[in-house]
Homo-oligomer: 454 residues x 2
Amino acid sequence: MMESKKYILTEKDIPTAWYNVLPDMPTKPRPILNPQTKQPFKEEELYPLFAKEVVKQELNTTDRWIEIPEEVREMYKIWRPTPLVRARGLEKLLDTPAHIYFKNESVSPVGSHKLNSAIPQAYYCKKEGVTNITTETGAGQWGAALSLAAKHFGLELAVYMVKVSYHQKPYRRSIMQTYGAQVIASPSMSTRAGRKMITDNPNYQGSLGMAISEAVELAMATPNCKYTLGSVLNHVSLHQTVIGLEAEKQMEMAGEYPDVVIGCFGGGSNFCGITYPFIRHNFSGERNARFIAAEPASCPKLTRGVFQYDFGDEAGYTPMIPMRTLGHNFSPANIHAGGLRYHGAGSVPSQLIEDGLIEAVDIPQLETFKAATMFAQSEGIIPAPESSHAISAAIREALKAKEEGVQKAILFNLSGHGLIDMASYDRYFAGDLTNYEIPEEELLKNTRDLEKLI
Amino acid sequence: MMESKKYILTEKDIPTAWYNVLPDMPTKPRPILNPQTKQPFKEEELYPLFAKEVVKQELNTTDRWIEIPEEVREMYKIWRPTPLVRARGLEKLLDTPAHIYFKNESVSPVGSHKLNSAIPQAYYCKKEGVTNITTETGAGQWGAALSLAAKHFGLELAVYMVKVSYHQKPYRRSIMQTYGAQVIASPSMSTRAGRKMITDNPNYQGSLGMAISEAVELAMATPNCKYTLGSVLNHVSLHQTVIGLEAEKQMEMAGEYPDVVIGCFGGGSNFCGITYPFIRHNFSGERNARFIAAEPASCPKLTRGVFQYDFGDEAGYTPMIPMRTLGHNFSPANIHAGGLRYHGAGSVPSQLIEDGLIEAVDIPQLETFKAATMFAQSEGIIPAPESSHAISAAIREALKAKEEGVQKAILFNLSGHGLIDMASYDRYFAGDLTNYEIPEEELLKNTRDLEKLI
C-alpha cells in the first residue's frame, strides 16, 4: 500500500514573503468594526490588544507580499519546508483515477500548522517589548504552538483552553506545560466573562468563543500584555500562506496543478493558508481550480450560517467581523475536532464564499473518523480529528472522480497529526461517538438578533 | 534559543545496504545456543520461530554489507532520510563549547526508529508466505511500528504489551489498534507462561521478558505464524544501521566527526543502529571515537550486570544468548521508559562492552525528565522517556567539555518523541516520580544460578 511519493524542498525554498490575498480580491471584505463606535477600526485603536506589526498586517489591503522577518524564517527552518506527499496508498485503497496529494504540516515539532503563525506573533510581541501574552485554544494545537514560540522568545504565556478539550485532550495541556505555559480551563473563575458563564450555566463545557473572551479580558487587565489569536483574523491566514506557497512549488515538481484544493475549516487559518496562493491564479484568470472548506456537520457556519457582522467571541469583547456565522452564542456539540468548534468564519473566507469563489461541505463526525482510519492504514499517519474533515472531503472528491471516470489532481492540507487524540479514536472504535444532528431551528437561533448589533 | 541547524539528505542517500558489524569485530561474540542441546543453533533450527531470511542475517558473520530489498527501501522513503540536527538551542542553554548533534528518528509516522526493522521483518515474513506474526512491546514503540508494517504487507498481528505500559500509555495501544493489530496486556491468560505468572504473582505488572515468552508461545502454537522481535538480536541492530549510515554522511556535511556517539539502551537496537557505522572506523584504526550506551539506573545490566549465557525471555523459551544481564527473572521497576525495562543486552553490544570498545552509563529517572524538559524547551521536540536517557548522557558530556574547556562533537540518537508519554511528564511535574534505587543484593539475586544454565 504505502508507496507514497514525497516532494521535498530545501531550506532555500522556504518563502521569503507571505502572500496577502486582500489586494487581489475582486470584492474586498467589509471592514472590521469597533463595537463602541460601529466605525471601522483605526490601526491605533487596535494597538492596546495586538502587537502593532500584526495590526498593520491585519489592515493592509495594498501590499501583495509581506516580507518574512529573518528571525522568523530561521525558526521556520526547524521543520520547514514540509513535505508534499502523493498519497498512492489512499488512491489504491479507493481505487480512484484521481491523484491525491497532501501537504504534511503534521511534521512540525508541535504536530500542526499552528506554529507558522505562533512564531511571527510571538516575535513581533517580543520586538515591541511586550513581556506577557494571552491566548485561547480549542483542541490545544494553537496553544501548544504558541507555548513553544513564547518560550523561544522569552515571553510569559497564559492559555485559556476550552474545557471539553482540557478534559478530552489532557496530553496537549501537558505539552503546553512542558514548554512552560500557564493553562487554564475555560470558562474559568479568573475573568468576569468566565465567572458570568459559570454562574449562568455551571455545566457549560466551553467554546473557542468563550476562551477568546477570557484571553482578551486578561490581556486588557495585565500590564505590558498582548492578546494573540490562532485563526479567524487576516494576519493569521497571511502567516499560514507559507503552506500554499511551498505546495505550489511542490505541485510543479510533481508536474501537476491541483483541480481541487481542500482544507478543514474552524476559523480558517489552515484552509486559507493552503488555498490563497492557488486562489490568486484564479483571480488572475490563469487557472480555474476549485476550493473546498470542510467543516463539521455539527458546527456548519459556512454551509448553513448567515452572513452578518458578529463578534469573534462569546462575551462581545472583540471587533465586529463580517462573518458567515451561527451567532457568537452558538454552543457547539462536543465533537472531538475541538479546533473546528467555532461559530464564525474570518471576513475574507466569508466574503469569498459569499462571492462563490470557494465552496464548503459539512461532514458528520463518524465519516471523519472512518476517513481518518483509512488514511492511517494506507498512508501510515494518524491524522488529527480536525484534519480528518479535509481527508473526508478529499475522499468524497476522489470517489466522485472514480464514478465519473475522470482523472483529477486533489490537494489537501494535513494540518496536524492525531497522536494526542488517541482517546477520541478509542471512543470511535468503541462505538461511543455520534454525529450530533442539529435541527435548523436550534442551529440559527443565535443569529436572529445579529442585525441589531450594527 | 532555537537556531538549530538541520542537515538534510535526499532519498538517493538512503543506504542501499545495511552494515553488518560481525565480520569486523576483533572478538566475535559467542554463539547463541539451543537450550535443549546447549549447542550453537543451526539455521534450520530457528526457522520455525523466525522468517528464514532474518535467521540468515542473524547468523551471518561474513558479509559486511547486506543489501536492503527495494520494497523495504521504497517504504523507508515515507520518512527517511531523517534529519541530523545541530542542537544550538541546547548548546546555548548549557553554555558549552561542545557541538551537540542529534539524529532525529522521531520523525517516522509512528514516532520512533522502530519502523527501520519492523518493515524488513514484516516484508521477509510476507515474502515467505507467512500470514500471522506475533511480537512483544514495552512502551509500545515497537508494537506501533510493527502494526503499521503488518498492515502494509497484509499480515495479521498479535502484540503482547507489557501490562504497566498498557496502562501507563493507553494512547500507544490505541495507535496499534488504529493500524489494525490485536493488543493483549502481558502477562495474560492466553498463554501457559502468562497464566503461570498470573497464578504465582497476580499483581505482576509485566516485563519485556514476560511479553516475549507469551509472543513466542503464541507464534509456536499458531499455524503459518512467525515471531518478530524489536531489539536484542543481531538482525534487528543490522536493520537499524540505516541510522548511523545516514548520520555519517550528515556529519560530513557538517564538517565534523563525532568524538562521542550516544544512544539509549534497552536491548540495544537504537544504540547499535547509530554506533555500528562509526565503530567500524575505530575497528579499522582510522578513528578513535567513544561510544556511550545510556541505560536506566533502575535496570543497569550494562553497568552492574554479569556476563553470562541467559534467556531472552522470562519463561526460557528463547535461544540462550551471551549477555550482560541482570537475570531473565529480574523484575524491573515501573519507570516510564518502558522500552528500557529489559534484563539483558544483545550478544554483540555485550561483547563490545566486555572488550572495552563501548562504555555505559546509568541514569536515574529524575535526571532523564529534567534533561527531557531542557531539550523540549530549547529544541522544541518533546523526547520519549527512553531517548531522554541519551539526552542526559549527552548533557553530561557537554558539561564535562565545558568544565574542561574542550570543544568536542557529541552525537546522540533521538530515537523517538514523547507525545504519547505526556502522562509521564505530568507525573514528573507533579513530583510523583522517583529514582528507584536498587540495592546490590536485590539487583543480582537473579543472576546467581545463571552459570548452571549451560
